[in-house]
């Protein structure tokens, strides 16, 4: 019992340090599913405020057949408001559990994004150590919308994503992505000849 309380305190404290996109609005839930050649991710979180959320994430790494479970604390560190644009700094700290070697490990994710209704850019970095090897992932996206969407219309984006992944071996990959969203549902599809990218997210 003491160990459980200690674990929860650590997790809550970690949440204060950092967060990622899944901070929505006070009382809001976000759930997402992502499938690529390298991993399958399922995620659910709850925002206790407009700046903080907590979630559960399951990741299956197909290259190494590892299954990882994370309890995450997300924090919106800073939001810059403009009339036609917005920029955000997020941080997420997670406590991961590797199902295969019953090991606990910390994970840190930092993200910065800036967008208006025409252009989007972000950069994120993830560091964790789920096994003997250190997992690092750097991601950057540039996006363009062919038209300015409105509150209740379908939104369309074309993006190019660059991912540098270093885990057992390193690889750099470029992925063209189509993103659409309508009201509270977002979907992303990508294909670069060797890998596919499918992502669905719902806010409720």
């Amino acid at each position: 019992m003491k160990a459980l309380i200690f674990f929860l305190i650590i997790l809550l404290e970690l949440g204060y340090l950092v967060i990622a996109h899944p901070v929505t609005y006070k009382g809001g839930f976000a759930t997402s599913a992502l499938q690529t050649r390298n991993d399958t991710t399922l995620y659910l979180n709850y925002s206790i405020s407009q700046k903080k959320s907590y979630g559960v994430q399951f990741v299956s790494l197909s290259d190494t057949n590892e299954r990882l479970l994370f309890l995450t604390g997300n924090r919106l560190l800073k939001r810059y408001y403009f009339f036609d644009a917005q920029a955000n700094l997020y941080a997420t700290t997670s406590l991961g559990f590797n199902h295969d070697n019953t090991q606990l490990f910390p994970c840190l994710h930092l993200k910065a994004d800036a967008e208006n209704r025409r252009y989007y850019t972000d950069f994120s970095a993830t560091i964790m150590k789920p096994s003997s090897a250190l997992f690092t992932k750097l991601t950057s996206r540039l996006g363009w919308a062919p038209y300015k969407h409105h509150f209740s219309t379908l939104s369309t984006w074309f993006m190019i994503e660059a991912v540098y992944l270093n885990y057992h071996n390193s690889q750099l990959e470029l992925m063209p992505i189509y993103r659409g969203f309508y009201k509270s549902l977002l979907w992303e599809l990508g294909y670069n000849g060797s890998n596919t990218f499918i992502h669905v997210m719902l806010h409720f």
Binding site: Y25, K26, D84, T153, L154, S155, S184, L185
Partner: protein, 119 residues
């Protein structure tokens, strides 16, 4: 062939989405102020200028938070004018503090609130 199909699919989707992307007609106001003349004196209007609204998916929180107040009848969001327009049955039940709190909980910043008397 695969690449061609992918490219074709993207073009098809984008064309479809472009067609869907036209701004909706502001039927809320039309209904409130033109079509339903007998109801016009029962509706108050509050215009809120909000900073940071760029993403429709994220801004859904504004609608969700504001509609938790049962005095609010309809909400119209206009990104071009940075406007959240609220129509309510009783504007006394919709205070500036309530509006500011709801919009800030949704993650945005209120710049100004203008209230319009019912006719």
């Amino acid at each position: 062939m695969k690449h061609f199909l992918t490219f074709y699919l993207i073009i098809l989707l984008s064309s479809f989405c472009y067609g869907m992307g036209n701004p909706p007609k502001d039927t809320t106001h039309e209904t409130a102020y033109s079509a339903l003349i007998p109801a016009i004196d029962k509706i108050d209007k509050i215009d809120v200028i909000v900073k940071g609204m760029t993403c429709a998916m994220c801004a859904q929180g504004i609608e969700k938070k504001l509609t938790e107040n049962t005095a609010i009848k309809t909400i119209y969001v206009d990104f071009d004018r940075h406007l959240v327009s609220i129509e309510c049955h009783d504007k006394k039940a919709v205070s500036n503090t309530m509006i500011t709190t709801a919009i800030e909980w949704a993650g945005y910043k209120v710049i100004s609130i203008n209230r319009y008397e019912k006719n």
